[in-house]
Amino acid sequence: MMDERIVRGRIDRAGALLSADAPLLHLQQRAGSGLGKPLALPHLARLVALAQRLQRDISRPLHTADDQSDIHALVRITPDAEGADVEISDWRPRPADPPQVPAIEDSLATPQEWAWECDQQLRLVALRPGAEAPALPADWEGRSLSELFELQPDEDGRFPVLRALARQSRFAGQRVRAELDAGRTQMELSGHALFDATGRFTGFRGVAALAEAEEADSAAPPRADPIFGSLPLSDPRFGRRIDGALRGPLSRIIATAETISGQFDGPIRADYARYAGDIAHAGRHLLGLVDDLADLQNIERPGFQAAADEIDLGDLARRAVGLLAMKAEEKGMRIDAPRTDDKMPATGEFRRVLQVLLNLIGNAIRYSPENSLIWIRVDREGDRAMVTVADQGQGIAADQQAAVFEKFERLGRTDSGGSGLGLYIARRLARAMGGDLIVDSAPGQGARFTLSLPARD
């Protein structure tokens, strides 16, 4: 049974319920409290406190119960200077069986999840499986979160859980791999920070959810002792083994360096923290190179084909801009993206086109001066749909324009910004999708990269 109404309430800064629609007030009263008194629904109270601490809206599933029913709902909490507004929707009371007593909760909100809690050093103090979740690994008690789960970096090479640890805030989307009885399992962690009465950070509490299955390539079990010498370089297994052998250690190096850099175990000398930050940065660069090499191996194998999805280049350009907006903002740059009504139907593989656009826009951000402008336009010429990324960087001389699409070509740059494979991969992908990638530039006038794909009516 689902109630379409929105149930509203108002909480003050101290956590007291100031006003509430009837269902919420009824629940508060059944929990032995009332108006003007502290919110007596623990889960909701925790979410309100979280929103107030973060000073941002949060929307979460809500689980609560009285002695008559369990209630599952969605709650949106909007904090302000005086307290917080609560809006509860999708209110689903589940009558207990038999009436008058709470129903047996034999599973988590999502039965495939694990509930976990760790201390401020990320050591696990609780791990409980949902009814349909994989069995827990043995000896998890007291082990480090990063030991039990192999942390995976996000698209920017960062680790959400470590960033949250530094900021003592909530996090989501931390991809991890876990070694379970069933084999290597991809999961995703999210959690919120815990504090004691003195405001001291005491750890995180959250859930670990099964992530979507990995691609076959990356799901291959890691080789404990890869015998690289017995395989020719052209053998795809060579690339996969390098990928598997490097990714884990690099992830651990980055995680450890970020832990040191963030001074999570207490202050250290500033220059040591800076060195650790450099190590993490270099580690992320190497991880990016591993990604590029794995990609290279994949697209250069005979018979590589890209999917022919129905895509909209305008939509993909806006998505790519959304993913890189923070990076541009850090350099004070503005990206002029296609308007939401700029559509350009085309045929190509969704994630590969997004990958190309991320590479082009990422390069534009990396090699353009601060406070400059990047613009992105979509267009059509005959049966070609096109998206152009233009920047105000130093530009590329005509005799070097072909070279930028060569492997490992960085036009003499020695900074740690790229591997020299991105544009090579991008053009290979464009051509594999029946399109092309070209550059138009002159020294001092910026560069215009144009991706063209088969247009779709």
Binding site: G15, A45, Q52, D66, D97, A109, V125, F195, R205, P267
Partner: protein, 301 residues
């Protein structure tokens, strides 16, 4: 008790009517005494429900604990007063800690500047042994919750006699189910013995509390004062329990039912300043519907 209602002219009451009459009789016997709130009732019932499911799973994971619970709700739960005392004590401890956690969260939200991390070598620095012991205490404490964070009884912490009673009750219920045979009955009896033996080998929160107290050594009073300031009631209860040679559950119950004036004597073994007790007194005083007993300093039966 039921005999008291078999007065002339009144038929034997149904279980529901009988229950209400008993409740009314108890009320009339002490009208001024505070009653259980709906929250206390629901929490205790939830704890009992999870406990019974855990006991059944320990006996045999194949037991339909939902059917068992439904059946016992109709007929009444076994375990009597020991079960009620365990569930009530755990529920009260949970209410107290939840209240503190809510206030701590509200406090953290009101603090605009982040608390500076502790300096290395400051008083917060603890020995690796203490650190590990505190971690073990937190792990033992979190076993007293289910996956949702709802309170539960960890089987390792339950009084052996109560555990045995509940195991035997579950085994008897199972034997009474249709389709049971002699072989299954024998298996069930063996499972009861195995579960009792297994519980003896398990170390629960009392063991973790003792290790924590031992690791702290002369630092116990300091750690207890800090636990009070941080409203880390698990650590405080653990230290107080070991210092007073009580179980964790007994000390939690004693604190929760103590008058403010009784707190100094209750915590005397911890050698705390009177001023250090203030946050504890304040926290207990603001817990709604708390039942205070005169005999708080006495061990819980």
């Amino acid at each position: 008790m039921a005999d008291a209602f078999s007065s002339p002219g009144i038929d034997m009451p149904s279980p529901t009517v009988s229950s209400r009459l008993r409740e009314l009789a108890e009320y009339l016997a002490a009208p001024a005494a505070g009653r259980l709130t709906e929250e206390q009732r629901a929490l205790s019932l939830g704890i009992a429900r999870r406990f019974i499911a855990d006991v059944a799973a320990r006996l045999d994971p194949a037991i339909d604990s939902a059917a068992l619970w439904r059946d016992w709700l109709r007929r009444g739960l076994p375990g009597g007063e020991p079960l009620a005392a365990a569930c009530y004590a755990r529920a009260e401890e949970y209410r107290w800690r939840e209240q503190s956690a809510r206030r701590a969260a509200a406090f953290a939200a009101s603090v605009t500047e982040k608390v500076a991390p502790a300096e290395p070598g400051s008083a917060d620095a603890v020995s690796p042994e203490t650190d590990r012991a505190y971690l073990a205490l937190r792990i033992a404490d979190r076993r007293r919750f289910d996956g949702f964070g709802h309170p539960a009884l960890a089987l390792a912490d339950v009084e052996p006699e109560l555990f045995r009673t509940m195991l035997q009750a579950v085994a008897a219920w199972r034997r009474a189910q249709p389709g049971g045979d002699a072989a299954q009955t024998a298996e069930c009896d063996e499972a009861v013995c195995a579960a009792i033996a297994r519980q003896k080998d398990e170390s629960g929160i009392d063991h973790a509390a003792a290790a924590f107290h031992q690791a702290l050594d002369v630092m116990v009073p300091d750690a207890a004062a800090k636990a009070i300031a941080a409203q880390d009631w698990t650590a405080l209860i653990a230290l107080a329990a070991v210092a007073a040679r009580r179980s964790y559950d007994a000390m939690a119950f004693a604190l929760l039912t103590a008058e403010s004036a009784a707190l100094p004597s209750l915590l005397a073994p911890l050698r705390l300043d009177r001023a250090a007790l203030a946050p504890l007194e304040a926290s207990l005083a603001t817990l709604p519907a708390r039942a205070v007993g005169d005999d708080a300093a006495e061990p819980v039966p």
